[in-house]
Subunit: 399 residues, 2 copies
Amino acid sequence: MKPVDWSSLFGQGAERIQASTIRELLKLTQRPGILSFAGGLPAPELFPKEEAAEAAAKLLRERGEVALQYGPTEGYAPLRAFVGAWLGVDPEEVLITTGSQQALDLLGKVFLEEGSPVLLEAPSYLGAIQAFRAYGPRFLTVPTGEEGPDLEALREALLRERPRFLYLIPSFQNPASGLMPLAKRQKLLELVTEAGVVVVEDDAYRELYFGERRLPSLFELARSAGYEGVIYLSSFSKILAPGLRVAFAVAPKEALKKLVQAKQGVDLHTPTLNQMLVLELLKEGLPARLERVRRVYREKAQAMLEALDSAMPQGVRYTRPQGGMFVWMELPEGVSSEELFQKAIAEGVAFVPGGPFFANGGGENTLRLSYATMDRARIQEGVKRLARALESLLPLKAR
Amino acid sequence: MKPVDWSSLFGQGAERIQASTIRELLKLTQRPGILSFAGGLPAPELFPKEEAAEAAAKLLRERGEVALQYGPTEGYAPLRAFVGAWLGVDPEEVLITTGSQQALDLLGKVFLEEGSPVLLEAPSYLGAIQAFRAYGPRFLTVPTGEEGPDLEALREALLRERPRFLYLIPSFQNPASGLMPLAKRQKLLELVTEAGVVVVEDDAYRELYFGERRLPSLFELARSAGYEGVIYLSSFSKILAPGLRVAFAVAPKEALKKLVQAKQGVDLHTPTLNQMLVLELLKEGLPARLERVRRVYREKAQAMLEALDSAMPQGVRYTRPQGGMFVWMELPEGVSSEELFQKAIAEGVAFVPGGPFFANGGGENTLRLSYATMDRARIQEGVKRLARALESLLPLKAR
């Protein structure tokens, strides 16, 4: 009997979804004793365990026929209505997705094919690069930083090409932690409406601002201006719990209809129980919960910045996040963050090397630090270890 | 400001995922007063509401940091271990999926591309056709019936082409309700191993047999014979609850690795809470639960067959299922089941017209009846209504 030659049977798609080296690296971060700044995991002390326990028991007992049954692909109607009211949109424009990751895959399925141009920030969210890459598009990238994407580079890119969409994370970008200022958002929208291109705005961190208030999203600004070309993604992963895998997309009906059709073939619908549970958790005490979430992340960010300020050598640059879960770091030119990673693991601390966040390569001297899961003491200790790991790598003049 | 021309931005994928007319039809089945044989929904009286309520509360209270947090893409390790022990396979060969529908999408992503041949039964599961179609393959079909696919047609197809895989539902096929006998399974495996092709065996209904015992799956037979080329799919939707969206795929490590990589980009992982909950529900009283599930469906099937035997006119043929949730019906040649559908809705009963289950067309005179959600009295009344709807359509000689 011949053994099966699997690779001869795989399609082109299989070649595109090679394992990222990053995931192999990240396995090292789970070794005992490692303090990990690597994961993008929300702080577990914020999970509403008790409320979820009570709500889940009540839902299953009293409405188990619904909670455990197949549901509509668009999502559980009362949750769609809640999101609609929350964002001020028609619930018919809301699709509940199995995490935001699914929304990214659905966008790929509907908009992308071999060779289609799609525009991303460099760096951008690894999960988006991965989801889109499976459809074989051509990535156009524009540099991004603490104030979001370089608009001049964006303008030039739009003069040359018409991407299927722009994928942007204007608030507390993952991984670069940028926050696009209001004036720049407006400027960006002018470019976008002029070119008539579509923006996919990923606003997973929308509620995790450290300042006085949330900036209006591109989506809100576009709607106010009468422009329909912004598809909005957000999630309950960062404000409730990621393990429930409940997120949402908002899009004009024509686009939403296609996304719904794509979702039918992908998982039929997001688990009913999870959607009902999220709704119950949202209905009670949301403002207080959001205050608490913001305070916890603000304190952690502060702890990390203090530790970095006192421990990092000259020549190492890092962002001062105004929200979200990440600090983005640039090592001196020529210093490899993958090399640093190996030394850091030896010292007992982990992070994510920045290279894979660049869809078209580059960024070898960058890295992402998450402060979300650790307390102040562990953050301080982790940063000390990172500084020790850095010592041997930095050129003498930069120390 | 120009309105967005969405259709100019959609990729080829979007064209392939047109809404099926069937879904539009099925909306009619939700009208009040309609007795529906249409849905493939499991019987809600079988849902373990109370057990799930208790288990969910306990899990969230005591292990909420795990249940609500991101988890590994491969699945919750103790659930993978359970499935491994249950099926007698290495847990490393098990991938937990967000419903079996997701497994079908992942198979499409890994194995199929524009024009690749894939072989299906005609008729076959609509969700599989839909999931695969998004990748633009070329469907090869072989007729199937109460004893499974036509092996002669299959043999000829394999002589002409080498499909990326054969998608088969050997037990209680959806929609044709066939059960492939043991000898035929062995014969099929001979063909398959000789040709060195891969089989995807969808065994969603594996536990819903009405006879003394379950027939060995193709997967089991192939493993015994040392053939690795069968990928096995099954689900907890039919024995616990579909709304949790927890299913699994078993594949040799090389193939599983690709499926895991594909799943990373698709939804990161299946909700952790749901996987833990399924495991808790499986751990207690599974044999008794399966007995009950089988008894309930057997009784419903019997009720439907009795009603059909007494009410159906000559010339209408239907299967006598030995398990699962469906009866498959053939109207006399030239009588359209879509036309019957309209008349049936007027009489207050619904079913699924069979045409869409044929990937390459045909089957206009066929339909699928599900007995899963109704009790005996409603099944009898529904069949009476169906008989009335049929009257006006049948040629005089057949009445």
